[in-house]
């Protein structure tokens, strides 16, 4: 800590901001201002330095200067007109990798040079110096990168693509109005170089995929619809008032019984002691579960044994609150045997009336629902089935009703539940958990009533059925069917349906109809076919054939573009209606709609999917955290680590703050789990909230979040290389070239290498010329984060040694730890970072790879964005109103 602080002072004096008193000088604001002064975008320079990443032209000069002299002196004798070993001649090579025919030969050369296979060891006279080898490798690497870009352009690109797996899932949810996970059977998507899963050229289609769509579509439609009369629900009621009465009655009986027994036993005891003992034991054995109920008004406990319940109660009117309660301590649960009564399908509603007793200021309590089954010893499972924990906030004297709605077909169930004669094996248990930070001695939840009902329908037929088959007045089933189909197709296809199209699908219906008992069942098969067409599965589909000039997208297409960008799903009726009236693209309407869309709950999908993909957070699933080093890795820490960057993004988005907050902010978005992880006190509860930082040296921004650090670790220790690559790829959009083939692994069996620290090992590896050129670009960025362990915890020591997180970029810029890195980005690299996030979001919004062709437009956007103070919500609007988004 002291070390860090010292560094800060040093840095600030370098920056000429003066050294002030103890804490005050840590002003990220002033660094930002400093950095802004250096912004080329803000100065309005045509093309900033940062942007000259690559050329589009082959470096033929370099070919002449770097490559050819060596070819002539060291290679040509074996690979030339005299001899052409391996059928390969250097004198016939074209130096133009971008357009020339020899890309494969160049790949070979790159490989043999990197591996030091050529020139061969047994021909010392052709040996080349390490520095020369390095230059050659660099030249080829850069040219290959350019060639890759250039050839990508050759192939062309477009936003026309199928939905991703997650978009397809949301689309079905929105279309059918059901919260189910439909897409689980689809294979996972691959990820683009940018990290995005919605990139058009990656979204392939195959027979397997197509068949899955057909199956999923039909299954989803069947789930949304019902047949016949409303099924009688299974109702389970647990009223503590009732139980207490029962318990008191039981107690009276028991006392009477015991008194009687005691008298009898006394006589028997003298006759046959042993037998009597056995009998007594037998009689005391409980026949069912025991529950203790507290009457808090009377401060008295009643025990009830064998508390049977009924599953067929008709009346679910809640009685008024009772002072008889079940006490649920923190971390404990109430486990209820549902036997095998719960239905297989439909929604289960759970209502719990609960309140807090002994409220503590720094404690929270919430309820969670779980299911479990034990089909034999060691064959068991349990799972959380509530979507999220529901906080309990009312005092126990005025309890609140907390409701859960759980789709029974979507949760793990006991597969044996419908087998007959299997006794205990068929049982399922529902557990009500009290989740709290107070532990078993903290505040309590008093629970006085709960009921479980399923299948639960608010109305019959349910809304999801009526959505597909509204009540039409027509008596004729054909017409009713047709009306249903038109409405469904319009929503699914996001456009009006033409008469010929409709005729064809009604033709299909007529073919199917005789095989089914009713119109609805036949029509569902037709609707499933609608869901397998490209009109549903593909988006941005209205690119016209071969028009030279880019065209403005139609309003209907714009509606889909907007909704897939901000909701990851199909547009709603309001968007479609505006589009049909050709009003959506009007500036004012568009602005209002974007505002509305961002306010909608569905906008959470934007934050979730964009941030997760941009930052590569789903990589956390590939990290197996080493138990020996870090202890058990709790799911709550994993989930919180994943969520923090998303919460941070949401904060910046909803308050329209500067994206520079992603580099460094004076606050963090955390919950109790993360606060504990970060050593921040006074944050209680599982919900995320903004916490202002007192100590601004360790946290703030996205880079030093537990999520980002964990994703870029190996589960055991920090991984500077991964972290470095991550910064370059995700934050600065300057991806390093791919590692050369067959990079030598660091030999961990070498005792000399084992002795080294990680940093020394990396330095040793860098000394290999094949590795140097890349590593000197990557490593320093990662080393700067050495103060953060594999899980992103701050540390000042590693194995008893002080952490050395200082490094030097290849441009000789010194970085002193993460703090130094953040300061450097803020003062020197603002433009690059801002352009990177513009680039990333445009790529996500368009669902395609960006290339040279888009550079100018991205620069223009970045420039405008910078002038508007880098505010995130503005960026969303800027992208939507840009030509990139509005034109084909």
């Amino acid at each position: 800590m002291i070390k860090n602080h010292f560094f800060l002072l040093a840095l600030f004096s370098v920056s000429g901001l003066g050294v002030g008193e103890e804490q005050k000088e840590i002003s990220w604001e002033s660094l930002r201002e400093e950095g802004k002064k250096r912004s080329s975008y803000l100065k309005g320079e045509e093309e900033s330095k940062v942007l000259k990443v690559l050329g589009t032209k082959p470096d033929l000069e370099g070919f002449k200067d770097v490559m050819q002299p060596i070819f002539k002196s060291n290679c040509i004798n074996c690979h030339g007109p005299k001899k052409s070993k391996g059928g390969f001649r250097v004198d016939e090579l074209s130096g133009d990798l971008l357009h020339g025919p020899h890309i494969n030969e160049w790949l070979d050369i790159y490989e043999v040079l990197s591996n030091e296979e050529m020139p061969p060891d047994d021909k010392p006279k052709y040996a080349i110096k390490d520095s020369v080898r390095g230059d050659m490798i660099d030249w080829i690497g850069l040219e290959m990168k350019k060639a890759a870009e250039a050839r990508k352009n050759e192939a062309g690109h477009s936003s026309f693509r199928r939905m991703t797996k997650y978009e397809y899932n949301y689309a079905l949810q929105d279309l059918l109005g059901l919260p189910y996970n439909f897409a689980a059977d689809l294979p996972p998507e691959s990820t683009s170089e940018d990290g995005f899963k919605n990139s058009s050229q990656l979204l392939q289609m195959s027979a397997m995929q197509f068949e899955a769509y057909r199956n999923i579509g039909l299954r989803a439609l069947l789930k949304a619809t019902v047949r016949g009369d409303q099924p009688e629900p299974v109702n389970f009621v647990l009223s503590m008032e009732e139980l207490a009465l029962k318990g008191s009655e039981q107690e009276r009986q028991r006392l009477a019984e015991e008194a009687k027994q005691a008298a009898e036993n006394k006589e028997k005891e003298e006759k046959d002691q042993k037998k009597g003992d056995k009998k007594k034991k037998k009689k005391k054995k409980k026949r069912g579960p025991e529950m203790s109920i507290l009457n808090y008004a009377l401060k008295k406990n009643v025990k009830t044994e064998n508390w049977g319940w009924s599953f067929d109660r008709k009346d679910l009117t809640m009685p008024s609150p009772s002072s008889n309660v079940y006490v649920l301590h923190g971390g404990k649960n109430l486990k209820l045997n549902m036997e095998n009564r719960l239905p297989d399908e439909g929604i289960m509603r759970i209502r719990v009336r609960a309140g807090i007793e002994g409220k503590m200021a720094n404690q929270y309590s919430s309820l969670r629902i779980g299911i479990s089954a034990q089909t034999s010893n060691n064959a068991n499972f349990s799972a959380t089935i509530s979507h999220r924990d529901m906080p309990v906030s009312s005092p126990h004297t005025e309890p609140e009703v907390i409701e859960f709605f759980i789709p029974l077909s979507e949760i793990p169930r006991n597969p044996l539940k419908n087998e007959k004669g299997k006794g205990r094996m068929v049982n399922e248990f529902i557990s009500i958990y009290h989740i709290s930070n107070g532990g078993s001695h903290g505040q309590k939840v008093y629970l006085d009533y709960l009921d479980i009902s399923g299948p639960f329908y608010e109305e019959w037929p349910p809304k999801s059925h009526r959505r597909l088959f509204p009540k039409y007045s027509e008596a004729d089933e054909y017409l009713r069917g047709k009306n249903s189909l038109v409405s469904f197709m319009t929503k699914a296809w996001r456009r009006p349906v033409t008469e010929p199209e409709l005729e064809k699908f009604m033709g299909l219906y007529e073919t199917y109809r005789p095989e089914f008992n009713n119109m609805e069942d036949a029509m569902l098969e037709v609707m499933a076919t609608v869901l397998a067409t490209p009109d549903f599965l593909y988006i941005n589909r209205e690119s016209r054939r071969e028009e030279k000039q880019p065209q403005k997208v139609s309003d209907l297409d714009l509606a889909s573009r907007l909704s897939f960008f901000l909701w990851s799903s199909i547009p709603d009726e309001e968007l479609i209606d505006l589009a049909k009236a050709n009003r959506l693209s009007e500036t004012e309407t568009l602005r209002a709609q974007v505002h509305r869309m961002l306010q909608d709950d569905r906008a959470d999908r934007f934050s979730l999917n964009f941030v997760e993909q941009w930052l590569g957070l789903d990589g956390i699933d590939n990290i197996s955290v080493d138990r020996k080093t870090h202890g058990p890795y709790s799911s709550s820490l994993k989930e919180a680590s994943l969520h923090e960057p998303i919460a941070h993004f949401n904060e910046v988005l909803s308050k329209n703050l500067s994206v520079l907050d992603f580099i460094q902010s004076d606050y963090v978005m955390i919950n109790q789990t993360l606060a504990h992880h970060y050593g921040i006190s006074e944050v209680h509860g599982p919900h995320f909230r903004r916490v202002e930082l007192n100590d601004k040296t360790q946290r703030g921004g996205l880079m030093t979040t537990a999520g980002v650090m964990t994703v870029n670790s190996d589960g055991k220790d920090s991984h500077p290389l991964k972290r470095g690559v991550w910064i370059l790829e995700r934050f600065l959009n300057d991806p390093p070239p791919p590692p050369p083939p067959n990079v030598p692994e660091v030999d961990l069996t070498d005792p000399e290498i084992l002795k080294m620290t990680l940093k020394e090992r990396m330095a040793d590896h860098r000394n290999n010329p094949a590795c140097l050129s890349c590593h000197q670009k990557i490593d320093p960025w990662g080393i700067a984060f050495e103060n953060y362990n594999a899980l992103g915890k701050f540390r000042t020591e590693i194995k008893g040694k002080d952490v050395d997180a200082t490094s030097e970029l290849h441009n000789k810029q010194k970085l002193a730890g993460a703090l130094g890195l953040k300061s450097y980005l803020l003062t020197e690299r603002q433009d690059q970072f801002v352009r990177a996030i513009v680039h990333k979001m445009v790529s996500y919004a368009l669902g395609r790879h960006l290339s040279f062709k888009d550079n100018q437009a991205v620069d223009a956007l970045a420039s405008e964005f910078r002038k508007k103070d880098d505010r995130l919500k503005d960026l969303v609007s800027l992208i939507i109103t840009s030509d990139l988004f509005m034109m084909n």
Partner: protein, 465 residues
């Protein structure tokens, strides 16, 4: 007896739900449909619960009734448990020192689920499985036969998490229900398809026609670049049409002519010997008629509750699972050994039959082109290590038999103390090393012609196999 029908036939894959057969997730079948002179390659796995009898070396029963052979790779000696396989010595391979690493400290009762999948399913809490090796193979060759795979089970159905009744799991990690009634298995394997299947197929065809038509109309409106994108979709639809045409072939196909003389189609596990022999016979007939190339048989779930517990009646003993608990009673090891011997004998009978049957196209015998394995996910008594595995056949696939292959180090005598003195042993730290069984799966898949270099995250095949 709780037996129920687990409906199972190729036509099910068109329904899209209640799949007994996994949907053949086949990307490249169009390329692999060479006109059939190629000899079928087949995979079969038998799973038996409870491991095997492994008395400690100091126990007098060790000499005769310890399951694993003694001696070296070629000069191994079989104990009384496996001596029934002596005549097939040159056709079999016995393995020791193989197990799935993630399960090594999980109770043996929970582990049958991961035997063919190698998934880290753990011992409690949330549960997630992954695809089994037979289904990976079925994805590759399922299209070539009437049934992509055949999944059999003494208990029938899926069972429950960590208490599976089936050995087969689909791509999503969901269990594929096993069929358990011989008569119904026979019918669904070899009888002609019903009206339902015909209708469903016809519906799919008209849907595809309409989709093709609709998509072509859309294609005309697209730029040339986007036309290429939609062309991929059209290819997918065309591939599906080819698939349906094949399904049509099976739907139209008359009943398969097979000889059921060796089947006891009314047998239940009470008639233990007949039942087990019939299950093997059904697999034999499916292979002989090339009705499938991938089959599994889960001979019993872990733990004793269920019809599979009756199978020890075949050797006049009661309660198969109880045998493993009674090893310290008089004749305990012997009784368990006799039951294991019965299991080996029936596997041997099946292997012999494959060997005695020439390949219909004349390419050796059925055994030469079949890899059949027999094993369990615990060596002994709740201990999830050192799976006792026998494989047979596959000489045309590249398997060299007549060997006892020992893997790992430190347990040359195949000791398995867990559960004998106390029941804590299964969660103890292993004092010896073993190899991941998934490497054997990689080798098997590669030799069956599936281009993989890993299984469940384990890269590379198993050396020496």
């Amino acid at each position: 007896m709780n037996q129920k029908r687990h409906h199972f036939s190729r036509k099910n894959f068109l329904v899209g739900s209640g799949l007994a057969l996994s949907l053949p997730w086949l990307e490249t079948y169009a390329g692999s449909q060479k006109s059939q002179p190629e000899t079928p390659k087949r995979f079969f796995s038998v799973y038996h619960p409870d491991g095997v009898g492994l008395p400690l070396k100091k126990d007098p029963a060790w000499k005769d009734w310890s399951w694993f052979p003694r001696g070296g790779e070629h000069d191994f000696e079989l104990t009384k448990v496996l001596d029934v396989l002596e005549p097939l010595r040159s056709e079999i391979t016995i393995y020791s020192g193989l197990s799935h690493p993630a399960a090594r400290k999980v109770h043996g009762h929970s582990n049958a689920d991961q035997y063919l999948t190698a998934a880290a399913i753990g011992g409690h809490g949330p549960y997630k499985n992954s695809i089994s090796v037979d289904q990976v193979y079925a994805e590759k060759v399922g299209e070539l036969t009437r049934h992509a795979s055949v999944v059999l089970s003494t208990n029938g159905g899926t069972g429950a998490p960590r208490g599976t009744y089936t050995s087969s799991f689909n791509r999503a990690g969901r269990p594929i229900p096993g069929m358990n009634q011989p008569k119904q298995i026979f019918d669904s394997l070899f009888m002609a398809s019903g009206k339902d299947a015909v209708e469903r197929l016809a519906r799919s065809k008209s849907a595809l026609d309409l989709i093709m038509d609709n998509t072509r109309a859309m294609k005309k409106r697209l730029s040339s670049h986007d036309q290429r994108t939609i062309e991929q979709y059209l290819d997918a639809v065309r591939d599906t049409e080819v698939k349906l045409a094949k399904a049509q072939k099976w739907v139209d196909a008359p009943a398969v002519q097979v000889d059921s003389k060796d089947c006891h189609l009314e047998a239940s596990p009470k008639e233990a010997k007949q039942y087990v022999q019939t299950m093997y016979e059904l697999v034999y007939l499916s292979f002989l008629s090339d009705s499938t190339r991938s089959a599994t048989y889960n001979m019993g779930r872990e733990n004793g509750e269920g019809p599979h517990d009756l199978l020890s009646k075949a050797v006049g003993l009661g309660g198969a699972h109880g045998l493993t608990h009674n090893v310290k009673k008089p004749n305990g090891w012997k009784n368990l050994g006799i039951y294991n011997r019965f299991q080996a004998e029936e596997f041997g009978r099946f292997v012999q039959k494959l060997k005695d049957t020439p390949e219909p196209n004349g390419d050796g015998n059925l055994l030469d082109n079949t890899f059949a394995m027999h094993g369990s996910a615990s060596s002994s008594f709740h201990l999830s290590r050192n799976y006792p595995i026998i494989s047979a056949g596959g000489s045309n696939l590249g398997f060299r038999n007549g060997r006892y292959l020992k893997f790992g180090h430190g347990n040359e005598d195949n000791q398995a103390g867990a559960g004998i003195a106390s029941d804590k042993g299964w969660r103890s730290d292993a004092k010896h090393t073993e190899e991941p069984l998934a490497h054997l799966f990689v080798t098997i898949l590669q030799r069956l012609g599936v281009e993989v270099d890993e299984f469940a995250g384990y890269k590379g095949g198993l050396s020496r196999v």
